[in-house]
Subunit: 194 residues, 2 copies
Amino acid sequence: MSPKTKEQFKEIRNQSKASIQAAALELFGKQGYANTSISQIAKAAGISKGLMYNYFESKEVLLREILLAAFGEGENLMETSLLQQSAPKEQLLAIIEGTFYMVRSQPQYWKLLTTLAFQPEIAGEIEWATKHKREGTLELFKNILAQLGVKDTEKEAYLMGATLDGILLQYFFLGNTYPLEDMKKLYIERFCNF
Amino acid sequence: MSPKTKEQFKEIRNQSKASIQAAALELFGKQGYANTSISQIAKAAGISKGLMYNYFESKEVLLREILLAAFGEGENLMETSLLQQSAPKEQLLAIIEGTFYMVRSQPQYWKLLTTLAFQPEIAGEIEWATKHKREGTLELFKNILAQLGVKDTEKEAYLMGATLDGILLQYFFLGNTYPLEDMKKLYIERFCNF
DNA sequence: GTCTATATGAGGATAGAC
DNA sequence: GTCTATCCTCATATAGAC
């Protein structure tokens, strides 16, 4: 027998978890959470249905862990790119570029989060998170806009947020035929002309 | 026995159908389609579960009939308000006012359509409709913008559509605390300044 | 750690009495 | 037209062998 250390076991376990999460993320994003069965996930991950429950105690927990990972990545990326800028206009640009980058590079996460936000039955799971994120971005916008001398920061922040969301949703629906890069430019041109 | 005419029967039947549809619309909008059971609908409509199937042969058909009604109303409203205008700018304003009005006056329909659009499992049902509507509005925008002398009508139409959608989604998420009327004004001010 | 087989429950849909 | 009782499918979750 080849004796294995605790670390090695842990490593194997983590890899298995990761591959299940990856498969689930893909399927959740494509078909939605409710319409994706454990069987499908297990099949996609190349394991048996029962084994799933050695790694995640329920489908809901699986979802939560995927979401936590997604949020973590997002927060990280945003914070680091924000810290590199101090001038308000550059901060604003950093937020925008960061958002577009995130959506482009991790479309599955983005799709999953979006579909979930519109599924009231699941919303409870991620309500705190989306709400927190939404309000956080809005506050950030308001803050920066105030520094840039904008008068009605509340409404202006809403408008900027609305357009940003709208563009990303169009990308969501239209896929790669959508001129995302051009729209980013147009957005910056139209909303960041300070 | 009180003899009833065919018309009277039909009338009773239509009223029953309507009350079921109303209950279902309410619940679908609040909880989502997948997470609303036939039992719940029947209870809300004050009838038994089994009776549902005398009026709608399946849950899916029930959904479809609700959607068809919603689309019909929407199309109607939009077309009549469009026909009253001929100048491009007034047409543009009519579309915008019409959209806001529709969302304000029939929030349940709007919520249902929105949640469904983001549920891949159901999307097939209404894909044709949403796609058609989406493209139609976009074409309309492009057309009007061209008449108004805008250069890149494609991107501009996307931007206008994105912002409009985004505002309505914020309303969707924030509810009555959201300053919808003010945002409408701001939107018109910012995008219809021709 | 991994599998197969099974328990359990929910929800859509049907049958048949009234 | 309306109800109650029942069927059936499917998906989550568990048990137990290997």
